[in-house]
């Protein structure tokens, strides 16, 4: 919908005035102003740690602001708990998946507003309604009875959306819903968003992918260091470069520069032969040479993560071998892989990557402890010093390496996981969705970093749902479909359409 | 706790009448016993306190009852630090408390050992012993008499806390006495001196043995639960012998309409005896009823069998559980 069609003088649905939220030692929001009108898609932009998620939590009643005011249709409101926001008509999809892993899909969708008579749940009805919602979201394949913890991250995101839709919200807030989705699914999401806005529902949309903002957004508000630096800009009228500059205070070359592929005679560092994981994938051959970046493309659920995890020894291979520098690794042993010089940035940073309650530096050094130890005694000063260097190199904010990782924003958490393996000087680096939730600036920094590593002779494998990213970053691309390699070839011989065709072939039929 | 009931008048003989009852110099007595987690043990502590209340010249310091020897040792250490005149000590485990009792004696404190014996004669001035082995003997002998001539009689035993040495002594005595008349313990279970555990143990026991002729239950407090289980099962082909000698049980014996025919007294007056003796010792007095000038080194209480015939004699001194 075009914002010009709306009457700008009408009372906004929700307006935010000078909201301040402080955490111990951090001012997460230092005075935020913006307003949302009925029927528009209002995009929130900002770097990692700018305060977007915190703002969302304030709007959803999960945080109480220290200062400032919220107005709902002109009336001042105060949300003391999520329930208050929900009953006002605000629904939210939080960045960190807010699902209950042990419950079924249907139970999650209706959690908190269960369909019931006299306290008894109406399971059949809930199941039907859930199926309708999932159909709407283009996922009839997800069974309402499936346990949510067993779904892939992408499907969990779909459940999260179904849940937000299950309440008739007048304002729907989505915190990076597209981070784990592939392009197809993002398109479906946008279709749903458009349906909602034509019904007059307002949507606040957060994403680090600027092209999405262009496609779906009506107006945009930019946050920087917890403050609004621009608000209510009509999307159609601003240049991407300007947005980036507003967010970061600098201009960023957001493109993949040309890259010289590694010397053809570079030795093979990682050699995978006939790798198979029980029932999930099989017959995967993969050779990565020193200085080479290999990309794994495929649909969500095609088994890319499992290949990486099996190479790393985190899952037991049912067949096949993994060699590093010609030495075969013991099957199913992470320790052996790490000692041989493999590092893995896992897909789910919260559950697989981070020690959330531990300090940043401890998360960074956890895989290199022996480097800081003499006779088992740690030199904590050296640890902190090295961690601080990396934190600064990766621009993690805030920089204090003593703070618990839990208190960092999502994108910054991702950087901490990366820093762990940078510290170790790996021979092989396996990156599973390395830029998920990472902002524009940091993303290009990560790209540069990956290239630098490759130039130093590290063998890199990258999994990403962002085809552009795979093509831009990798020298060679493997396409996975239903657990099998269906294509292997140099990245420059492929383009986005060709990859999508390869990826979809068969499933479309 | 308030102690209205049964400040045992029979026990006044211990202090005697006459001169010994006259107030003398002030005596501070420390008292330590295992946790009062069952009737008999609670009665011991209560009787000690009641006894102390009788004398205007006695100040009692009773410490928290505990089943942790480590804690009990430290409590005795505290009493030593406080320089009490005497310590009446019913140890959770006699051997384990011996070192600290020795320490107290070395510090010039009169230690009275109650019930569970130390393993050094130097650790106490007087030992007041119940007779656990004798208790088993009494119960066994009674059972033998009642079952005279029934060679294939089935005898069951419901023991108390099985890990305690005293339980072992009781069971040993019981087995030995039964052996004398050619019987043995056919079924044995153990409870924990509590009503509930007694019920549980007995319920299972009654299933294990389809026919029983006699049951000896070590402890009358858990006996309440045993009774409940028996009642529940509707069985009545056997008779039962109790242990410890609670007032309830004695009344039941007196009434004579239940399965309970007898109980073996394990005097709960030991605590009171200990207090009285401690006072006499500190004040330098003797037992006025006997000729001996000094208080004897060791007093062993007997473990008489109470039946309907002699119950009146014991009823008054019995503890309410």
């Amino acid at each position: 919908m075009n914002p010009d069609d709306m009457n700008p003088d009408a009372v906004p649905l929700l307006s935010v005035h000078d909201v301040v939220k402080r955490f111990p030692g951090v001012v997460a929001l230092g005075g935020v102003n913006f307003d949302v009108r009925a029927g528009e898609v209002h995009c929130l932009l900002g770097q990692n740690g700018a305060g977007k998620s915190t703002l969302i939590k304030v709007l959803a009643g999960a945080h109480r602001p220290d200062e400032g005011e919220l107005r709902w249709q002109g009336e001042t409101v105060a949300f003391n708990d999520p329930q208050a926001a929900i009953s006002t008509g605000i629904g939210a999809i939080h960045q960190e998946l807010d699902l209950v892993a042990g419950l079924s899909v249907a139970a999650n969708v209706f959690l908190g507003h269960e369909l019931s008579t006299a306290g008894f749940t109406r399971r059949t009805l809930a199941r039907e309604r859930t199926r309708e919602l999932l159909d709407l979201l283009g996922h009839p394949d997800i069974s309402p009875d499936r346990e949510v913890g067993r779904l892939s991250a992408a499907n969990q995101q779909v459940v999260s959306m179904a849940r937000a839709l299950s309440r008739d919200s007048r304002l729907l807030i989505m915190d990076e819903p597209s981070a784990v989705l592939d392009q197809d699914e993002v398109r479906t999401l946008f279709r749903v968003i458009r349906q909602l806005t034509t019904r007059g529902v307002a949507v606040v949309y957060i994403s680090h992918r600027l092209e999405e903002i262009r496609e779906i957004g009506d107006r945009v508000t930019v946050l920087k260091d917890g403050r609004t630096v621009a608000t209510g800009l009509p999307v159609a009228d601003v240049r991407t470069a300007d947005l980036i500059e507003l967010m970061t205070g600098r201009t960023i070359e957001y493109a993949f520069g040309p890259r010289t592929p590694p010397a053809p005679d570079a030795p093979a560092v990682l050699t995978v032969r006939g790798l198979a994981g029980a029932g999930r994938f099989s017959g995967v051959d993969l050779t990565v040479h020193a200085g080479e970046v290999v990309g794994l493309a495929g649909l969500v659920g095609s088994g890319r993560s499992e290949v990486l995890e099996t190479v790393y020894g985190a899952r037991k291979a049912s067949a096949g071998t993994v060699e590093v520098d010609g030495r075969r690794l013991r099957r199913g042993s992470v320790g052996a892989a790490v000692r041989a010089g493999i590092g893995l940035c896992p897909e789910e940073r919260k559950s697989q990557g981070l020690l959330l309650d531990q300090a940043v530096y401890r998360n960074i050094t956890v895989s290199s402890l022996s480097a800081f130890a003499r006779l088992g005694f740690l030199d904590e000063g050296a640890e902190r010093a090295r961690a601080t260097e990396l934190v600064e190199a990766l621009d993690v904010r805030p920089t204090g390496v003593g703070r618990a990782v839990r208190t960092l924003s999502g994108g910054n958490q991702q950087k901490v996981v990366l820093a762990r393996w940078l510290l170790r000087d790996c021979r092989v680096l396996l990156l599973d969705e390395p830029t998920r939730g990472v902002d524009v600036g940091a993303r290009s920094e990560i790209y540069q970093l990956v290239r630098q590593l490759a130039d130093r002779g590290v063998a890199v494998v990258v999994v990403s749902s962002d085809v552009e990213e795979v093509l831009g970053l990798a020298d060679r691309v493997l396409v996975l479909r239903e657990g099998r390699v269906v294509h292997e070839g140099p990245a420059r011989e492929l383009d986005e359409h060709r990859v999508l065709d390869l990826v979809m072939e068969g499933t479309a039929a | 706790t308030s102690n209205t009931p049964e400040a045992p008048p029979a026990q006044e003989t211990a202090g005697g009448g006459g001169a010994n009852a006259e107030p003398g110099e002030k005596v501070v007595i420390g008292f330590s016993a295992p946790a009062a987690d069952h009737g008999w043990m609670a009665a011991i502590s209560a009787a000690a306190k009641a006894e102390a209340d009788k004398y205007s010249d006695v100040e009692l310091k009773a410490v928290e009852g505990t089943n942790d020897v480590n804690l009990q040792i430290s409590q005795v250490e505290t009493l030593i630090n406080e320089k009490v005149d005497a310590i009446v000590l019913l140890p959770f485990d006699g051997a384990a408390l011996t070192p600290v009792a020795l320490k107290a004696m070395e510090a010039g404190i009169t230690v009275i050992n109650i019930d569970r014996e130390f393993d050094s004669p130097f650790a106490s001035r007087v030992t007041v012993r119940g007779d656990n082995y004798g208790m088993g003997i009494s119960a066994g002998t009674y059972v033998c008499e009642e079952l005279k001539g029934k060679a294939d009689a089935v005898v069951a035993e419901i023991a108390g806390i099985d890990s305690l040495p005293l339980t072992q002594d009781r069971s040993q005595g019981f087995a030995d006495a039964l052996g004398q008349c050619g019987l043995k313990v056919n079924n044995r279970v153990a409870a924990e001196f509590t009503v509930e555990s007694g019920e549980r143990a007995a319920a299972n026991l009654l299933q294990a043995a389809p026919r029983i002729d006699a049951i000896w239950n070590h402890d009358d407090d858990q006996g309440i639960g045993v009774n409940a289980a028996i009642k529940n099962s509707g069985r009545s082909e056997f008779f039962m012998v109790g242990g410890a000698g609670s007032a309830n049980v004695m009344r039941e014996i007196k009434a004579g309409d239940g399965l309970l025919k007898a109980t073996v007294v394990y005097p709960s007056t030991q605590g009171a005896d200990g207090i009285a003796l401690a006072r006499l010792l500190v004040q330098g007095k003797g037992l006025s009823d006997i000729v001996e000038v000094e208080v004897p080194r060791s007093i062993q209480l007997s473990a008489p069998v109470v039946t309907q015939d002699n119950v009146d004699k014991y009823l008054e001194a019995a503890f309410e559980s």
Binding site: A62, D81, P82, Q83, S87, A92, H94, D98, V100, A101, G102, L103, A107, L111, G112, H113, E114, S116, G119, F120, T121, D141, S143, D145, R146, E147, R163, G279, G301, E482, G483, T507 | T1, A36, D37, H38, A42, A46, R188, V189, A190, E192, T194, V195, E196, E199, A203, N204, L205, Q207, A208, D221, I224, G225, A228, N232, S233, N248, E320, S321
Partner: protein, 343 residues
């Protein structure tokens, strides 16, 4: 895991039709799969009982004895399942049982019960239990005291109070209506067992078929997510502990009925027994997963075990060693089976 096998086709897209029947069988399979190990352990135990003790084991009255013994701790364990599933723990259950049993059998309460109706005693026990649970829950939810510590404190306080009130005497019940009622066996099933069955059934329904149960899982699995979904997590926590308190009150009434006494020594080490039954039944101590059926099996396994031991006249120490070994074997068995059924 078995669910995946059924619903997740390799393409990740199951045909729309055909899902329902597959799902049903998968669900059934998974429920059985989750508990097969326990069922098997119980069956093996019973077999051992029959082999070693023959008719003395496989006898109606023996089975009823086992069930009667299981009922009191069973009721507590059902309540405990809720608290543990909701992410909490309660060490004070035994002490609450003791306090409730004492309170319900004081001379005053009994006098009132004789004057009016024996239900007075039941109300007293339930009220005391609910009150203690309420205090526990409030400390945990609003005072943010760690559950372990809050309920440990309640353990000390409630037992101390029970001792003070009862003056450490065993209080014998003398309310004819009360004993008469509990002595009945409708349809041949002792009243105690009946109460246990009703509580277990009600527990199952509440945990699996009501919003309350659904929210209990959510609160235990991911309290933050539950909060964000608009659930009042703290109030729910208070309710959970109160519910368990009420179960303790019921257990107190049952134990009064069984022993015809109230005593500060009742309920000794129930906390350990109940938690053990709950955990062996498959409820996660970290919360979010729990089944009433598993708990009931857990209770039955423990009770049957000690019954078989007694029937065989095993020494108490040997029992302890055997018990340790059997527990571990049962759990390992359960695990292997669960893994197999998961594929």
């Amino acid at each position: 895991m078995s669910e995946n096998t059924a619903t997740a086709s390799p393409t990740g897209r199951a045909a729309g039709t055909g899902i329902a029947p597959r799902r049903a069988s998968a669900l059934l399979g998974s429920a059985a799969g989750r508990n097969t190990g326990l069922v098997l352990a119980l069956v093996l135990l019973c077999l051992a009982g029959v082999v070693t003790a023959g008719d003395r084991f496989a006898d109606v009255s023996n089975v009823l004895t086992i069930l009667r013994l299981a009922s009191v701790i069973g009721v507590v364990s059902v309540g405990m399942t809720f608290v543990v599933t909701g992410g909490g723990i309660d060490l004070s259950v035994g002490a609450i049982v003791a306090l409730s049993s004492v309170w319900a059998t004081t001379l005053a309460t009994q006098a009132m019960a004789r004057d009016t109706h024996w239900l007075v005693m039941v109300f007293a026990a339930l009220a005391v239990g609910a009150g203690c649970g309420l205090v526990n829950g409030t400390l945990v939810a609003y005072g943010r005291v760690v559950a372990f510590i809050a309920t440990l404190a309640m353990l000390a306080a409630a037992r101390g109070l029970a001792e003070i009130i009862s003056n450490r005497k065993t209080q014998i019940v003398d309310v004819p209506g009360f004993t008469a009622f509990w002595d009945t066996s409708p349809l041949g099933v002792p009243m105690l067992v009946l109460v246990f069955a009703v509580v277990a059934l009600a527990g199952w329904v509440v945990l699996n078929r009501t919003t309350f149960g659904r929210r209990t899982y959510a609160v235990g699995s991911n309290p933050e997510a539950a909060r964000l979904a608009g659930i009042d997590v703290r109030r729910h926590t208070v309710l959970l502990y109160t519910l368990l308190g009420i179960c303790c009150g019921i257990a107190a009434v049952m134990i009064i009925a069984r022993t015809t006494t109230g005593s500060a020594t009742h309920g000794g080490l129930y906390e350990l027994d109940a938690i053990a039954a709950v955990v062996i039944g498959g409820t996660l101590l970290s919360g979010g997963r729990g089944t009433i059926a598993g708990t009931v099996f857990g209770v039955l396994i423990f009770t049957t075990l000690s019954n078989v031991f007694t029937l065989n006249n095993l020494s108490i120490s040997a029992q302890a060693v055997a018990k340790g070994a059997i527990i571990v074997l049962a759990v390992l068995l359960q695990q292997r089976l669960a893994r197999r059924s998961g594929g």
